[in-house]
């Protein structure tokens, strides 16, 4: 299970966001370069179609793989009252030939993306991860070196935190509270409910850049 919010930010303001995050998180940023392969079950397999993601972390000297299943979001009156999305999510590290295994099991490559950027991982009531990345598509299958941005000039901000059925309220509150600090630069909301860019982000970014992040927003 995880709590998730997303937002978009113009690439020109990413540096300011990084300065803000550095100040807020108090940890070193990590580079992010992840090849995400989204697989879908073939037409005959399963009563309903299933999706699974394979993530290859290209930033490691020896790329490491993770398989991830993202489930449906929590629904109902309770979910409507929470400003973050709460959804099932299971991740498992896997060895490098997992793609071959899923192909053999009848899964097909639906689409693939290359995410390039940076991330901060820190503890604030919950274990929160913030990533800022450009999302790139490949003109040919697995052609990572030829990847081009899906949307020029824009990057995606993801804030996630693992949760359990027992603590998701507290985790959601921690994520929500953290997101308020980022509001001058990026609006964060439940995925698929875009609120666009922050109209005053330029001014906020200028302020951050001019004094290296010392100004209180």
């Amino acid at each position: 299970m995880e709590c998730v919010v997303q937002g978009i930010i113009e690439t020109q303001h990413v540096e300011a966001l990084e300065i803000l995050l550095q100040g807020l998180c108090g940890v070193q940023r990590e580079r992010l370069r992840v090849h995400e392969l989204c697989l879908k079950s073939g037409p005959n397999l399963g009563v309903v179609t299933s999706d699974v993601r394979l993530l290859c972390d290209l930033d490691q000297p020896d790329p490491t793989w993770t398989v991830k299943h993202v489930g449906g979001a929590m629904r109902g009156a309770g979910a409507d009252q929470i400003s973050v999305m709460v959804r099932t999510m299971i991740e498992s590290k896997v060895s490098k030939n997992s793609l071959r295994m899923f192909y053999a099991l009848g899964y097909k490559l639906d689409h693939e993306l290359l995410k390039v950027g940076f991330a901060f991982h820190f503890q604030r009531t919950a274990h929160i991860s913030v990533s800022v990345s450009s999302v790139n598509k490949m003109p040919k299958v697995h052609a990572i070196d030829e990847a081009v941005p899906v949307t020029h000039g824009m990057q995606i901000v993801d804030v996630t935190a693992p949760a359990t059925p027992e603590n998701y309220s507290e985790v959601a509150a921690a994520v929500s509270s953290f997101c308020e600090f980022l509001a001058p630069l990026v609006h964060l909301s439940k995925p698929f409910i875009s609120t666009g860019v922050v109209p005053t982000a330029a001014a906020a970014a200028a302020s951050l850049m001019s004094d290296g992040g010392g100004t209180t927003l």
């Binding site: 037409p43 005959n44 009563v47 299933s50 896997v94 997992s98 009848g106």
Partner: protein
């Protein structure tokens, strides 16, 4: 990780496997001064595809299995023998498989028994039973040579140990023998240094041989 052989009991024509064979094998280990250390257990699952149309079954692997090993409690291994695929994952990969609802575990087996220390060797002798039954379907034996991780380097020593083992077991006049399967691990993308993925492949081959033996007897 030490090099491991996984042997399985091959009964003579006309005889069957039983708990008695396991008892005899365990006593044999003790007779050559094996020191009992405790119990061990591994679990194996056969996965079958959930299909909209059963007529398309041949499109999907018939030998997709998953195994959790006694030495790696936090890991789970998938093997598709026909395609020479072995994958290592965290144990929660099983939860992912359940969520996907594309494959279902149809048959589950336990390998369980006792573990022994014998000089530089560690032995495990165990029965193969379905999870909801006491019906012994087979007997397996793991032999670890603890000081060495290179398969090639350990080979001669393992063969010498097996000669001693076969000699000791022969005195009990049992209706069968323990068999080791020669495996070309390179076909699975595995090297000379032994890993748990090698063990997963060994168990997949053992199961294939045990099934073939049962089918031959029934035939």
């Amino acid at each position: 990780m030490p090099v491991k052989w996984v042997l399985h009991w091959q009964p003579n024509q006309g005889s069957t496997v039983s708990s008695q064979i396991l008892n005899e094998a365990s006593q044999c280990v003790e007779s050559i001064n094996g020191v009992k250390e405790g119990r061990w257990k591994a679990t194996l699952n056969y996965y079958k595809p959930i299909l909209k149309d059963q007529a398309n079954q041949s499109e999907f692997p018939r030998d997709f299995l998953g195994i959790s090993l006694a030495d790696e409690p936090d890991k789970y291994y998938f093997i598709i023998r026909s395609q020479r695929i072995v994958v290592e994952a965290d144990t929660n990969i099983q939860s992912i498989m359940e969520k996907l609802q594309s494959y279902k575990s149809k048959v589950a087996l336990y390998f369980e028994g006792f573990q022994y220390q014998l000089g530089d060797f560690r032995l495990r002798v165990g029965k193969v039973v379905p999870t909801h039954s006491e019906n012994v379907r087979g007997i397996v034996m793991e032999v670890d040579y603890l000081p060495i991780s290179s398969i090639k380097t350990a080979n001669k020593l393992m063969e010498e140990f097996m000669e001693i083992w076969h000699e000791a077991l022969a005195k009990r006049s049992l209706p069968g023998k323990f068999v080791n399967i020669d495996i070309n691990f390179e076909e699975y993308g595995l090297g000379d240094i032994y890993t748990p993925q090698h063990t997963a492949v060994r168990y997949a081959l053992v199961m294939a041989h045990m099934i073939a033996t049962v089918q031959a007897v029934r035939g």
